[in-house]
């Protein structure tokens, strides 16, 4: 069981077996099944739909709309989370005042806020961005607070002995020491806000976006459209993931850790 992988199979090709086989099976099934069903679309049809959307520019428009929302919500939420987390970790008074409320707030399932947000902010972009910022705020706050609290007291003492100012201590001691944890928060925020983007488009139906393509597909029984939408969502999620990992590695290297 614990033997090393057979040398002829590199790990990349081995990982490709399952998707390739699944794709082949799906294509075969779609080709052999005579009864026309809106649910069983062939891979070729999905590819054709994807190509149509790409060529007409519709896919780019949807993607741009979704990403613009995603990034603005993410930016606002992350910024707010960094500030909130900093205050929570540094001021006992603030922690006592706001901490318990925040902890209660984060227990409420995020999507439960959507109906309230829709009443207060409508169904447009403002409502979506508000929702996305909330989605990003929570993980960033939690991890910023944890990270800054976890800075070893010995480091802080050294900084004090050397007469660092508060600002110097923050930027030259605390932030580098807490960077991995801070990054986990930002990373989670990026994932959550992408999920929330789809959710916002799904539940606050208006305007254009990838989520709306999914709804159209499911309302008109167009499995090909649904599958293309899922593929794009997965791809974007994966790319955001990859991008953040890269950035994290580079930042960590730069701070000499």
């Amino acid at each position: 069981m614990t033997t090393v992988a057979a040398p002829t199979w590199s790990s990349a090709t081995r990982g490709a077996w399952v998707p390739v086989l699944a794709l082949a099976g799906w294509g075969l099934w779609a080709a052999l099944d005579e009864t026309p069903s809106p649910l069983l679309v062939s891979p070729a049809q999905v590819a054709a739909t994807a190509w149509d959307l790409l060529a007409s520019g519709q896919l780019w428009r949807m993607l741009a709309a979704s990403l613009a929302r995603n990034l603005s919500g993410f930016a606002i939420g992350t910024l707010g989370g960094l500030v909130l987390g900093y205050l929570l970790s540094q001021s006992r008074l603030f922690e006592r005042l706001v901490g318990p409320s925040f902890n209660t707030f984060k227990q409420v399932s995020l999507f439960a806020w959507i109906p309230l947000i829709s009443v207060w902010f409508g169904l447009g972009d403002v409502a979506k961005v508000v929702f996305l910022s909330l989605a990003a705020l929570v993980p960033v706050t939690v991890h910023t607070c944890d990270g800054l609290r976890g800075v070893p007291p010995s480091l802080l003492e050294v900084a004090r002995v050397y007469g660092y100012s508060r600002r110097q201590t923050l930027w030259e001691v605390m932030v580098p020491a807490a960077l991995p944890t801070l990054f986990t928060g930002v990373y989670l925020a990026l994932i959550y806000s992408w999920l929330a983007t789809i959710g916002a488009e799904y539940l606050l139906v208006s305007g254009e976006g990838i989520g709306n393509a999914l709804i159209d597909g499911s309302e008109h029984f167009r499995m090909d459209l649904v599958l293309v939408g899922m593929l794009v969502i997965g791809l974007v999620g994966g790319l955001l993931n990859l991008f953040t990992r890269r950035l994290e590695r580079r930042l960590l290297r730069r701070y000499g850790r």
Binding site: M1, T3, V4, A5, W9, R14, G15, A16, W17, V18, P19, A22, L39, S89, Q90, S91, R92, L93, R96, L97, V98, G99, S101, Q107, V108, S109, L110, F111, A112, W113, I114, P115, L116, S118, V119, W120, L148, R149, V151, P153, L156, R160, W194, L195, I198, G199, Y202, L203, G211, L214, I215, S218, M223, V226, M230, I233, G234, G237, G238, N241
Partner: protein, 282 residues
Amino acid sequence: MSRANALPLPVTPTVAASSLPASRTAARSRWREAALPWLLPLALLGVWQLGVVQGWVSPQVLPPLAYVYDTLVELGHSGDLWLNASASLQRVLVGFLLGAGLGLLLGAAMGLSPRLKGLLLPTFNALVQIPVLGWLPFALLLFGIGEPLKYVLIAKAALVPVTLATVQLFQEAPQRLVEVARVNGFSQRQIVTNVILPAGIPALFTGLRLGFTKAWLSLVVVELVASSEGLGYLIVYGRQLFQLDLVMAAVVIVGAVGYAIDRLFDTFERRLQRGWPTGGNR
């Protein structure tokens, strides 16, 4: 704010007071400690009530506090609360048990066989990138709008963290202990049950807990989109009738149930860690 800012060490101000009426200052500051967390919620509620009384906002946008309270009481009395809460709890439990069970199996299979892991994990990781809401329209077309849809989506939400935690359990097994066991002639099965599992229980539990959190989140989403009973449905129903008191009451209930479950897991986890001496011993 700057007063407490000098050092983030947990030095309580009570310790510093050393004069004779120390006990009284201590009592007072303890009282203040207990009261502080209530300040913000009370202030918010006060502003809310004031806004409603003064007519700054229409009751349709922000219903008076008393309405929300009345609605909560009424929900409890009429039995609607229990009906919908039990529907939701049943869904989340069935979905979670399905997903966590499958996740444990899948994770253990991949953890035990590197070959299977090489075969499956890349596909698994790719599919994980699509969030529950991405799967929803697909599953909607496939399963229709009935109960199976909810079970499948909730199970999927729970499956992912549990599988990953289980795979990790095998990956990060304490190599030294495994080696010792092997030298002592333990069989593969003995190594798994006697060495790897005990060392990994806390991590596994974290995965299960995360799985449940995800399942609860997905439940609300699924019920918001497609259901005719349940706590999420209450929210949608209230929204459609523009009865914001009902929406808020339902949000409060969703939050309270989520909080209660989280506490439960917390207590359980702490007890587990206490009763498991090898847990922290990597």
